[in-house]
């Protein structure tokens, strides 16, 4: 019996990465784009998309590529020798984020096996807005801003990942979608928000083939962390719990609900308040004993200042560094490749206080002592 061909959706955000070389922070918004073009910016995404596609050349005949016209994938696919099935329509040379969204929706509708996209945080967010976690996605990093954890290490790896995904069914894993908080941005603050989670095929290049970690292993280390935390939790302390799947596992262990994208406060193993903002936290802490529980958010290893800004410099200062608890699976820590954890709270004094070394709980009675660096430049 001839196996059914797998279908991969391909979306290239044709302008992603255009601002990078010319010193702009992203290409979202018409004005920025115009400026980038004026300054002679060239998009990164076509090149990166092709790098990924070339990697898949050897299985050309084993899959169908479903894509949008022209620069949104068709051109790249053809240049790499694929014969894509082209759907949808665009205004050539004038695509917007709406096109990315409709492409994603069409591909979900067409039930492709996975969606390969080239772009940056904005692109990831568009896809998330359009289809949520309906499809497994693989991100080709091509944008200026890459805070989201949905991207492969580089374009080639994204291609390899598609190959792997086609050969054997992969388990799916939630990865953070992060982007600049536009509201905050308009107020003159550069702040990155956690928007949600996309599903990516779980890949583990840190372990040898058959010993490769699986999601069960990842869950198991999360459970270990949760178990350890549940043993060590102290009464009378307020715990300010940041967003993330690892902190969610701790809440699950305690039998409490967790706001996945927001900050919750617990005390004596009970929820005190859910999805709180900075002011609410400050009011709750007041003069009480408190601890902060966070996990690195996104692909860069930020523990403060990306996706959990509710835990503000004032909150951190009030609680104190010695009461900051960082949790992360060993796999997540290893995937930082030796780079430090980062803080960028927007307040230099707080950042300096947090930098240095911090203990990270990675499993049941397992900890790392890990470097914390300043994340401003990221």
């Amino acid at each position: 019996m001839k196996p059914v061909k797998k279908r991969i959706g391909l979306i290239v955000n044709p302008i992603a990465g255009i601002g990078g070389r010319v010193g702009l922070k992203g290409s979202d918004g018409r004005e920025a784009l115009r400026k980038a073009r004026e300054l002679g910016g060239k998009p990164e995404s076509p090149k990166r998309a092709k790098e990924a596609l070339l990697r898949m050349a050897s299985i050309k005949h084993e899959l169908d590529i479903l894509t949008y016209p022209h620069e949104m994938g068709e051109d790249e696919a053809r240049e790499c020798g694929f014969e894509p099935i082209v759907i949808g329509s665009i205004k050539k040379g004038e695509t917007t984020s709406e096109d990315t969204k409709s492409a994603a929706r069409d591909m979900a509708e067409a039930r492709v096996d996975a969606l390969l996209f080239a772009g940056g945080d904005g692109t990831a967010r568009d896809i998330y807005d359009a289809i949520g976690g309906r499809l497994p996605v693989i991100g080709i990093p091509a944008g200026v801003k890459i805070h989201s954890a949905v991207f492969a290490i580089n374009a080639q790896s994204a291609g390899d990942l598609v190959m792997m995904f086609l050969r054997e069914p992969a388990e799916l894993w939630e990865a953070e979608v992060m982007d600049v908080d536009e509201e905050a941005f308009r107020r003159g603050l550069l702040s990155t928000k956690l928007y949600g989670y996309l599903k990516i095929p779980y890949q583990d290049r840190l372990f040898q083939g058959p010993k490769r970690g699986s999601i069960a292993g990842e869950r198991s280390s999360m459970n270990g962390i949760a178990e350890y935390f549940a043993e060590e939790i102290e009464d009378d302390y307020l715990y300010i719990v940041g967003p993330g799947t690892t902190t969610r596992a701790i809440h699950e262990r305690l039998g409490l609900p967790k706001t996945l994208l927001g900050v919750d406060v617990i005390r004596d193993r009970q929820i005190v308040a859910s999805d709180v903002n900075e002011n609410q936290i400050l009011r709750l802490v007041c003069d009480k004993k408190a601890k902060i529980l966070v996990t690195p958010i996104g692909g860069q290893g930020f523990i403060f200042g990306r996706g959990n800004q509710q835990i503000s410099p004032d909150v951190i200062k009030k609680v104190g560094k010695e009461h900051v608890i960082v949790v992360a699976t060993g796999h997540k820590m290893a995937s930082l490749g030796g780079r430090p954890l980062l803080v960028d709270t927007g307040d230099d004094e707080t950042d300096d206080m947090l930098s240095g070394y911090i203990r990270v709980i990675t499993g049941y009675r397992q900890e790392l002592v890990y470097r914390v660096g300043l994340g401003k430049c990221f």
Binding site: R205, F207, P210, G338, G356, R359, E367, R371
Partner: protein, 524 residues
């Protein structure tokens, strides 16, 4: 003519007997060996003994063992042995951290003499004076080599030895009323057993990450120590082959905090006679006699993790210990502070015997030669590999590489899509053992870790380097050849997914018979 000899064994092919599983062999009624039947007189006296077993405890169905004649059993296992690439058969440079060196045949001969193989571990000490003398004297050798004061050979392998050291640390603090010390510090590039076994011994484990040059982060250590520090358990040189020259500072920091320091010297090949645990300030250490001291690895044991401690920790050693009163050797059990037992009896003593004979054959100069030559071999291989495309050395700035080096195929993978697991399968096609990549996690991407011990000649190393050079070239020209390897092995690629699938895995033939229908979709 040697220069014209091709370095590559291009025409090699592994034995591929396609042997059946033994459970499929033989015919009903065949016998491989007959058991000595009890004499008639005995039978007459005791009668039908089996009828005395309570009915519900009698075996009704004979075990479904195969029924095979002796020649077929011999042939089967000889064929299996031919499909196993022992160190004696190949240039076993690839299995770094394992110290695959030559195990002298004369030592094997000695270890199989009835004067050791037919000793019962509970024999009266009067009747084992010879072996006790060897144990005692060899402990003395290790004391000299390490600077530690007392050794035990009870642990059956490296992991069990590290566990023993963790137990000693626990007992030490308990004896001082400091049981709150419940944290062991280790480093990411120490052997994983330095983290796993203290956990079994009840400790919290704190791991230090490497700094940008591959050394354990000294500042992190300073941040890690506290009143809860029980000890530090590390290797040096680490897994990466990097020797940490500031090790004494690390030890001092832990000592100042009140902890003990345990030196994992499973593999000490590069520093024998060069530097010792004592001068670096360690309180305890262990050597793997099946690595550095040449006892064969036996498909993973029997081995021996010899544990050595300073005099102030002697009383905690597992029981029994061997003592000498000037005339006779004694097996001493009365030791109130002992951690008890980690393994039955005295451990794998034939391993100690082989190691004893090995040291006796080398003497002080020979031991130093072992270190020097293995370090020369390693640096020579490094030189050769630096000329191979696609290979990078981890942490190239770290200066002192002793007996092994962790390399990376990351560049090769980026440029060709061929990664370390592919190369690992491909080397087998040239008649060498699949290499060791790295312990987990793979902080060095696409890793491999060769360790050319003193066993390998210059020609051997040249051949090994040539194999890697050839495969690298192949990866650039026809990557699929490497990706689909092996081509000349005993078998073709295994479907590894089954190994993690509860519906399909089978650890016994009987389980396979139950599950084989679920394999159908998988090409069987």
């Amino acid at each position: 003519m040697r220069n014209e000899r091709s370095l590559l064994k291009q025409n090699y092919h592994a034995a591929a007997w396609n042997e059946p599983i033994i459970m499929q062999m033989g015919r009903k009624g065949e016998r491989g060996i007959l058991v000595p039947e009890a004499e008639e007189e005995i039978k007459e006296v005791v009668g039908d003994v089996l009828s005395r077993i309570p009915t519900d405890l009698r075996r009704t169905e004979p075990p479904k063992l195969p029924e095979i004649s002796q020649p077929q059993v011999v042939r089967h296992f000889l064929r299996l042995s031919q499909m196993c690439l022992g160190t004696d058969l190949n240039i076993d440079i690839g299995q770094g951290t394992c110290t695959m060196k030559y195990s002298p045949k004369v030592n094997e001969y000695l270890a199989r003499l009835p004067d050791i193989s037919e000793l019962h571990p509970l024999q009266d000490e009067e009747t084992v004076q010879g072996i006790l003398e060897i144990i005692y004297k060899f402990a003395g050798f290790l004391s000299e080599i390490s600077g530690m004061d007392k050794f035990t050979f009870q642990p059956g392998g490296g992991a069990q030895a590290i566990y023993t050291n963790a137990c000693i640390i626990r007992a030490y603090h308990a004896a001082r009323g400091e049981s709150q010390r419940d944290e062991i510090i280790t480093t990411l590039f120490s052997h994983p057993a330095d983290a796993a076994t203290p956990a079994t011994a009840g400790f919290k484990v704190i791991t230090l990450m490497p700094d940008e040059n591959g050394y354990p982060d000294l500042e992190a250590l300073k941040a890690a120590v506290s009143k809860r520090t029980a000890g530090m358990m590390i290797t040096n040189p680490e897994d990466t082959g990097i020797y940490n020259p500031r090790v004494r500072e690390y030890v001092d920091i832990v000592h100042e905090a009140g902890g003990l320091c345990s030196y994992d010297q499973a593999n000490a090949n590069g520093i024998l006679g060069i530097c010792r645990a004592k001068e670096a300030g360690f309180d305890m250490c262990h050597f793997n006699l099946h690595k550095t001291f040449s006892s064969p690895h036996g498909c993973s044991g029997p081995g021996c993790g010899a544990v050595g401690v300073r005099d102030y920790l002697e009383k905690f050693l597992p029981v029994p210990v061997v003592e000498f009163d000037g005339e006779k050797y004694h097996i001493v059990y009365e030791r109130p502070f002992s951690i008890g037992k980690v393994r039955s009896f005295l451990g794998n003593i034939p391993v100690v015997l082989r190691a004893y004979a090995w040291v006796m054959s080398l003497g002080p100069d020979g031991i130093r030669d072992v270190a020097e030559v293995s370090v020369i071999n390693n640096n020579y291989l490094a030189k050769k590999l630096s000329q191979v495309s696609g290979i990078g050395m981890s942490y190239p700035k770290a200066k002192c590489r002793l007996d092994q080096i962790r390399y990376s195929w990351e560049q090769l993978r980026r440029e060709t899509g061929v990664g370390t697991e592919d190369v690992r399968r491909r080397v087998v096609d040239f008649g060498v053992q699949s290499y060791f990549e790295s312990h987990h996690p793979w902080v060095v991407p696409e890793p491999f870790t060769p360790e050319p011990t003193e066993t390998y000649s210059k020609d051997d190393i040249d051949e090994y380097a040539e194999i890697l050079r050839y495969i690298s070239q192949e990866a650039y020209v026809s990557p699929d050849t490497v990706k689909n390897a092996p081509h000349k092995s005993t078998i073709t690629r295994i479907d590894e997914r089954i190994l993690n699938d509860p519906k399909k895995w089978a650890m016994t033939w009987r389980a396979y018979l139950n599950k084989r229908h679920s394999w159908d979709s998988q090409g069987q």
